[in-house]
């Protein structure tokens, strides 16, 4: 199996749904797809030597899928954190002016 070709096909398929997050999520997605492709290759080797059952192969693929989902959770979480910090910084930056203008503490 050509691991690089499999990775490229997975990346091409994922680019659509992930389009607007690609800049942030692309490198992590590529790493996860590399892990999955290498795992599939190893499963093929292990099957040839009868050291893995089809059920175990499915369970290990599910673990890799769970890891990919966790990576995306982290990227999304850090994105929410950045947005939260940006809004709070913007409000904090004008709090003195706004509160002084209004004569009471709004922000």
């Amino acid at each position: 199996m050509d691991v690089d070709a499999v990775i490229q096909q997975m990346l091409a398929a994922a680019k659509g749904p992930l389009q607007q997050y690609w800049k942030a999520a692309g490198p992590a997605a590529e790493q996860q797809f590399t892990n999955i492709a290498q795992m599939i290759k190893q499963i093929g080797i292990d099957r040839a030597t009868q050291t893995i059952t089809p059920q175990d192969a499915q369970d290990r693929l599910q673990m890799a899928k769970n890891n990919a989902a966790m990576e995306l959770d982290t990227i999304e979480g850090l994105g929410e954190l950045a947005a939260q910090n940006a809004i709070n910084a913007a409000l904090a930056a004008v709090s003195g002016i706004v509160n002084g203008y209004l004569g009471f503490q709004l922000i």
């Binding site: 050291t51 059952t53 290990r60 990576e71 959770d73 982290t74 850090l78 709070n88 904090a92």
Partner: protein, 164 residues
């Protein structure tokens, strides 16, 4: 374009005012949780020790499922407790989902171990690497939250000092 801006400006101003009136600060994601971080560090340490033990045991009885099932029981119980804590915390869905996925991965390893009685060396290393990826994702988010929370506290302290 100008018309579009004119239409969206009141909505933007209303949003900013609402944010200012309701909380002064927005919270899209829950702040850093020291207890979660500490407990998950223990889980990771136990997991690493478990895999090292399995790698050392090889195909002996010490590597059998029955000799190791206490690790799965203890780890799943701890992760379930952490999951409940995260689920009960507002705006903590991402952290909760990561804990849930970590628990599911431990369950999958348990199922394979129980089914096959013992795990071979290549699979133990693969499962160890897989768990490390999950822990890394969790701690990357926790570190981001920790840094952000520390920054917020410093800013709040500065603001309080300025008011005095």
């Amino acid at each position: 374009m100008k018309q579009k801006l004119r239409k969206s400006l009141p909505i933007f101003l209303a949003s900013v005012t609402l944010i200012a009136l309701t909380a002064c600060q927005v919270h899209f994601i829950a702040p850093y949780d020291q207890k979660l971080d500490t407990a998950m560090t223990t889980v990771q340490g136990d997991t690493e020790a478990f895999f090292i033990k399995l790698q050392g045991a090889g195909q002996t009885d010490a590597g059998d499922y029955d000799a190791n099932k206490h690790y799965y029981q203890q780890t799943e119980a701890t992760l379930r407790t952490l999951l409940t804590r995260a689920q009960a915390t507002p705006n903590s869905a991402k952290v909760a989902d990561e804990i849930d996925k970590l628990e599911k991965n431990v369950e999958l390893i348990q199922q394979m171990h129980e089914r096959d009685k013992s795990l071979n060396a290549a699979n133990i290393q693969g499962d160890r690497d897989s768990m490390e990826i999950g822990f890394r994702a969790f701690f990357t988010l926790e570190l981001g939250l920790k840094t952000s929370t520390a920054g917020s506290k410093t800013a709040a302290a500065g603001k309080a000092q300025a008011r005095k």
